[in-house]
Amino acid sequence: MAATLPPPRLLPSGDSAVTVEFSRTIDDDANQRVLALDKALAASPIDGITETVPTYRSLLVHYDPGKIGFDALGEKILPIATRPLPPATRARRWRIPVAYGGEHGIDLEDVAKALNTTPDDIIARHAGGDYKVAMIGFTPGWSYLSGLDKSLHMSRRQSPRLLTPAGTISIGGVQAGIQCLAAPSGWHLLGRTPVRTYQLHRNPTFLTEPGDHVTFFAIDHKTFEDMDRAAEAGEIVAEQVVA
């Protein structure tokens, strides 16, 4: 039998939630453990847990203290959280179309200049990456991706923009992102996707799940317009790669 993994920290987030923390930093191994615990708790629910929220490094577990206390819940979570990771199952993979540069990616040229290369090279590096949805947060559907090419790591903008468009594809620090709704952002905007990761009256409402794999491919601005209309009408327009 494989050795158990080091236990996470159980940090009280008030009287009705506990933060199960695997790491203090952005760490792919920790994120895998977060997602594995999330999956395990979904597969065999503990009575009293009401909702789980995976993030980069911790799983926030909401619970009803009328059904289970902090200590009892911790005793049930720890053995699951220290289990060796199950063998990687085949994750869903999305191919996301992106119109890079121009009005859709206003920072592409500046990013290329800052990294001493051409916009086409930045596109190739960004679209060539193999990403994983590490967490979804901030606003509905905002998917934080791990797996950004090291050569594209750069600090966020000094002054965040108060509004960036829906569908923005951006990079910030060591992360890449797919933003669904218009929102403030301090990241560098490389392009826009017509894909809605959140669309209210569509089935499914939310396209991406933590743990999904993502790759990007470039489309021209005319194709963007066509796909954007289709997406507005409820089409998914992202390609799901069937394993």
């Binding site: 008030g14 009287d15 993030t55 980069y56 490094r57 979804i136 901030f138 606003t139």
Partner: protein, 345 residues
């Protein structure tokens, strides 16, 4: 069917209920009533499910007019003067508006949020089980935005049931209770003591997303950037400037500032109803006490129907309310996103 017309209303007023649960993992904010107990009390008075949708009215006044028939409503929460066609209406009571009559609510006198529940509930299309307005995500029904004059609700005709009042426990006074964590280890003992030992005021630039706290600057041990993790209602995060923010119902589902403490469930509504400018303190409690208080709070909400009384003895209730009032606050400048309340000069 009758209609209830919003004849006039101030900003920071919207339809709210028990909130939208189950999709925080997708970044979807919970929303819901800032003061759950008052929402539940108003609903109980008109026979609705306790956490069903009602109108959450911000600190300004509002007027509602019944059309095409009578409408039965109830008010609970932040105390204010209220009347129907000149007849005074006490807080924590139900009242029936005859066709054409108008309910007039004054400014909140202490606190911020008053709940207007409508008999039969608010009709709308729930998303993730909720009608609560979350303006940023375009959610909420029948209006996915704060209410405006001219909005209207299609409602059940009044049942003609006798009017009721609800006898709530005396409002708790004293400090807002918190549990330390989840990131209290990002602060040294001196700064934790400063947080717990200081007097705080809620800034005028607060809203349903967060209450900014004015007081001493709280310093971090290792800087203010942590890797984003999950938030709850009542998380108290400390950004770079050292001024804590208590995250409220429209909070983002994740946040990247260290959270020094978390308001206990039983006290989140009390914090929500603390007027801007009023001095208050925090008090640390242990997990056992916090969870016991959470269970008692849930039990109180479940058993509100046992506290209904005939409205005959309503004068006693008015007295109790005026005792509980914190007078002396008036509403000043405001913009679309935030409400601002300042002490009268």
């Amino acid at each position: 069917m009758s209609r209830l017309i919003v004849a006039s209303i101030g900003p920071a007023s919207s339809v709210q209920d028990g909130g939208r649960h189950g999709a925080q993992r997708y970044g979807l904010t919970v929303s819901g009533a800032m003061d759950r107990l008052s929402l539940a009390a108003a609903n109980t008075l008109v026979g609705n499910e306790v956490l069903s949708a009602a109108v959450e009215i911000g600190p300004f006044g509002a007027t509602f007019t019944a059309r095409d028939g009578a409408v039965r409503v109830a008010i609970a929460g932040a105390p204010r003067n209220a009347d129907v066609a000149g007849r005074p209406v006490a807080m924590d009571t139900s009242v029936t508006l005859k066709d054409g009559e108008t309910l007039t609510l004054g400014f909140a006198r202490g606190g911020a949020f008053t709940y207007l529940a409508i008999e039969g509930g608010i009709k709308g299309e729930p998303v993730f089980g909720s009608l609560a307005v979350n303006a940023r995500a375009g959610l909420g029904s029948p209006y996915p935005r704060p209410l405006q004059a001219g909005d209207e609700f299609t409602v059940d005709a009044a049942s003609g049931a006798p009017e009721l009042r609800i006898e709530l426990p005396k409002p708790a006074i004293g400090p807002i209770r918190v549990l330390l964590g989840p990131q209290d280890d990002e602060f040294d003992d001196a700064n934790k003591a400063l947080f717990l030992g200081s007097e705080w005021k809620i800034s005028a630039t607060s809203d349903r997303m967060g209450y900014r706290l004015e007081g001493p600057a709280i310093k971090h041990l290792h800087g203010h950037n942590i890797v984003s993790d999950g938030t709850v209602n009542g998380s108290i995060q400390v950004p770079g400037n050292g001024s804590p923010i208590a995250l409220m119902m429209d909070r983002g589902t994740s946040g990247g500032y260290p959270k020094i403490a978390t308001v206990i469930t039983a006290d989140v509504g009390r914090l929500a109803q603390t007027s801007a400018g009023t001095a208050f303190r925090f008090k640390q409690v242990g997990m056992a006490e916090a969870q016991e208080e959470a269970r008692k709070f849930a039990q109180l909400i479940r058993s509100l129907a046992d506290r209904l009384r005939s409205s005959d003895t309503v004068e006693l209730n008015i007295e109790a309310l005026s005792d509980a009032n914190v007078a002396g606050y008036a509403v000043s400048a405001v913009d679309a996103g935030t409400w601002q309340v300042t002490a009268e000069p």
